[in-house]
Symmetry: C3
Subunit: 466 residues, 3 copies
Amino acid sequence: MTCPLALHPDRLFPADSDTRKVAQRLYAEVAGLPIISPHGHTDPEWWATDAPFGNAAELLLHPDHYVFRMLYSQGVPLGALGIGNPDADPRESWRLFAERYHLFRGTPSRMWLDWVFAESFGIDVLLSAETSDRYYDTITDALTTDAFRPRALFERYNIEVIATTENPLDDLRYHKAIRDSGWKGRVITAYRPDPVVDPEFEGFLDNLKTLAALTGEDCFSWSGYLAAHRKRRAFFASMGATSTDHGHLTARTADLSRAEAVALFACVTNASVSAEDAELFRAQMLTEMAGMSIDDGLVMQLHPGVYRNHNPAIFEKFGRDKGADIPLPCEYVHALRPLLSKYGNNPDFSFIVFTLDETSYSRELAPLAGHYPAMKLGPAWWFNDSPEGMRRFREMTTETAGFYNTVGFNDDTRAFMSIPARHDVARRMDCGFLAKLVAEHRMEEWEAADLAADLSYGLAKAAYKL
Amino acid sequence: MTCPLALHPDRLFPADSDTRKVAQRLYAEVAGLPIISPHGHTDPEWWATDAPFGNAAELLLHPDHYVFRMLYSQGVPLGALGIGNPDADPRESWRLFAERYHLFRGTPSRMWLDWVFAESFGIDVLLSAETSDRYYDTITDALTTDAFRPRALFERYNIEVIATTENPLDDLRYHKAIRDSGWKGRVITAYRPDPVVDPEFEGFLDNLKTLAALTGEDCFSWSGYLAAHRKRRAFFASMGATSTDHGHLTARTADLSRAEAVALFACVTNASVSAEDAELFRAQMLTEMAGMSIDDGLVMQLHPGVYRNHNPAIFEKFGRDKGADIPLPCEYVHALRPLLSKYGNNPDFSFIVFTLDETSYSRELAPLAGHYPAMKLGPAWWFNDSPEGMRRFREMTTETAGFYNTVGFNDDTRAFMSIPARHDVARRMDCGFLAKLVAEHRMEEWEAADLAADLSYGLAKAAYKL
Amino acid sequence: MTCPLALHPDRLFPADSDTRKVAQRLYAEVAGLPIISPHGHTDPEWWATDAPFGNAAELLLHPDHYVFRMLYSQGVPLGALGIGNPDADPRESWRLFAERYHLFRGTPSRMWLDWVFAESFGIDVLLSAETSDRYYDTITDALTTDAFRPRALFERYNIEVIATTENPLDDLRYHKAIRDSGWKGRVITAYRPDPVVDPEFEGFLDNLKTLAALTGEDCFSWSGYLAAHRKRRAFFASMGATSTDHGHLTARTADLSRAEAVALFACVTNASVSAEDAELFRAQMLTEMAGMSIDDGLVMQLHPGVYRNHNPAIFEKFGRDKGADIPLPCEYVHALRPLLSKYGNNPDFSFIVFTLDETSYSRELAPLAGHYPAMKLGPAWWFNDSPEGMRRFREMTTETAGFYNTVGFNDDTRAFMSIPARHDVARRMDCGFLAKLVAEHRMEEWEAADLAADLSYGLAKAAYKL
């Protein structure tokens, strides 16, 4: 059975007809705004080299853990999809996906993918076993054309600025190449120091050696280590970075005395480190990074609360980022107090906090962001970056934190082609949420229109200093 | 005041008229599908003996802790309702209920009961003080007729299969009697080993002795104990069981070495056992049971996170299952890791996990079920088996786990006559949820129709191998 | 830009037109009911002296931590708003607020404030930089008139009864003055013993000395201390109190033997007290207070789970209640068991429990309140006292606890003029919730009308014995 594929112009808007009309009007004003993408995981090499993307499976299947995790959960081996297996025939991998496209009903992946298929590739039938080859050929052929090279897509997608994420050991060669190329697209980096901040990261001590070599600092002394961070932050800033990003197991922060910090650093730079010392060190480093942010102006992001690599068999065979990361309950009130007590009253410091634990939205995060001048709420993240997740985010944070303690949308993806679709979903959901407030006479429509533009564009630009 | 009772054909459908029309169409296709009831607590003796049910109070009041807990919470003594008190006049017990029927406004009990009154007994006035005797007589009289005997109701309710729950010490005589009777109704058992798995269960050591006697195994040696489980599982399977069920205080699992397990078993078969040893033993037994499921093909269900018998005065006077069981926060990510690390990648293993802690839906359970091939999400359970609870279940799990990592509906009840009403509520709520997705152009109507049938019938049949 | 301000008659009602019509009809019947305000923090001195309120900033800005916390979170220093700073020009403080009124879009503060501006002061333009002086003058001028004196407003707002909150050391002179004045307004107190129950309260030991002096009891012996409570409770009851209120860090309760309690009391009345002893003492005192409630009939309220004074810089400079109180995860099932085991089965005891942790609504509080005769659910509290918060409260508690185990609305405010607005929001949201049940054929409209009156008026009056 071949079914038509058509993106409905009213998709995601509330069904009530009066409310929908408001949503349509609000959305019409923001649909065409440029994309601000202040946090994500695209690859700067794409725009540095502007080399064409490969085939359909390589472009849409292999980098998207949302997609292959669903297939894996229903019994499809990752190797058959081409993950960690260069011998897999990409057309056959694609077929495994196409045959099971019904599994994605009701998921955001389905919405993003249909957008890519229809809007970017002009396909007008639904993906299925019958249309698998047609899809594979259409997409793979298109990728050989100039219109589908990374810079062309960047421009076509109306991206005003995109931030990638690199660690302090990265030489940022691709960012330099983009600058040197004369191309006008604004691709910036962000400072993600986990490999040199987390004593439990693979190769932590070797990473410190590399950091020392890069900076000329003694990274096995506390003061040298901090100085190395400052140097790399400055280098990242010189390559456009306006933010740092911190992926931690918990939101714990600490404010140790200098003597305690020196002693702790000595512990964690030994060959063996206790779990508690590692956690305390990460906690202390968040506060150190906050202090540096106040000095150098980089916006600070915290993404806590994920059990990484939950499935040992998958981790051993395929490595990180293979869809086996699972959210944990995450406490913020006690955890953030040391950092916020020290720096939270500084209105020039911008500290953007995310969560995968929705229970903290109304209970902890909105009250904290609704009080501390420095703290802002990051948007609905990862599993919550979905229509229902976005709706719950607004419903559970707005009344306490308001809209202006939030920071607009993050696509947070390595799936480049899904970026416009994700921003479009966020704009539609925000317009729908605002339309409901208007329809229920909780806000005037002109105020909602102001907010729609802020949520789609202005707040991200301001919060990330872009 | 006597008020009419009429079940509205559009009950539970969304109020928006366009959305409602979609829901009506979806529901029309699934309303008549047979009932698959893969998990519940009805009594097999009913169908073995086909003896008539007693009176209205005995049928509808005494076995339903949803109903008598509400009356108790508003000051009605359990004894006056006939609970643990054979001297209570059932007509007067019924009156206490009828006079307070307004307490159930907005509850699922009200919806199930009205269905039973209207659909099963043809009553057309609302239950109240004024109509109490009329109700009591109508129901009690009907129960003397052949049309209201257990097998006749089973057939009238279009039940394709129903699973009861028995413990390993049960001889399954009623299941055998049903088979021997030649009656065509499919009533199967499920293996619920709590009394011989939980060292804190009343009479645990005696239960092991009985298990030894039943199986001829030495149930005080670890290998004999496991062999006894295997034998009883095989016996249950021979009597139709396709699943096991495990009611635990937490979701904790363990994967001990054989030597550790032997030592732990020695501890828990002593007269006194520590709380930690008991918990670790239960944890280890979940993993053992998972291993056996892979061998014998029985689907494994886990129902964790309830503080049983919270009210000591009620427990002492009336015993278990008297409405004083209260849900607890329940952690799954660390808890399930030992079991999932060992068996979670096996797509032939079916591990269905439930929760009473809704916070785990989007944070833990949907991400886990959306990754591990073995794991599926059980439906909204117990207090959450309600219109709003079902809606939240879909809203919080679908975007991450999809529909196909869920397993359809469980009625999970000992209130037999409410079974069709419960399935009807679930079908209506699922059709309403799907209709919203259609109305918001997040799904095509033909896809929603596919899903409506799967959620109402197909998924339960497949997941439970029925 | 000057924009009109008009309160829409359908504000907060569901947008769907059929549902809205039901909500309109339900609301029409309850909009004019008198206000029952059984819990709040208004100042009895207002009605004792009937002195005019000061200026706009003093009336609406300074006492409302919802308002100034939002301004603070966006970088406005508290001192500039006049908080802890008598030198601030109130007109300029008001201007800082007026210029930033857009920050309140989508918050309940915006809704309450607009009501006060439009309904109480007759203003018809939106607050903004342009209209700041006009607002300031209109409000400040009105406050000099008799119509805006406290007793006149009390009568205009149709308040049947309002409870303030005082601690046991208070001499209740203002309550006495109100009685002695012959004015008919019913202003009662409530017994909030935190300063003499919490060993970590500032000045705890001095407070015990004062309590001893007031009561003639030896407050450094356990029996004398309890006797002093009994005496002060009786005194409060003689001044109209029908309830006690307990603000605790957690919901923990204890049921110690007399010997243990004596020993613990000796510990906490020493100069230094451990955190665990302080917590255990608070826990024990909740159970003691429950026992006294059974004796003297005072309704008992518990407000747990707030990290008070999270921001040390603000606390040091400005003191308590400055918007830096943050909710914590709060456990109830284990915590309340000692108290409920002892007194929970007494239907004459009324124990009203609140939460700021919404996760406990469906998981713990509704199941507990739906079982124990003594326990009732307090309404959506503090950050959750908002349209979305109220909606979630009903959605997550009704199906398990029903409506009749809840106690109507609390405004819980020190912002006097917002009281009618808050009750109006609650009535509108409850009517909207009920209207949805009617529109979805889950309830008859006449039942919803009954409930609307109960939720707006009857349940509060009954639960608080008013």
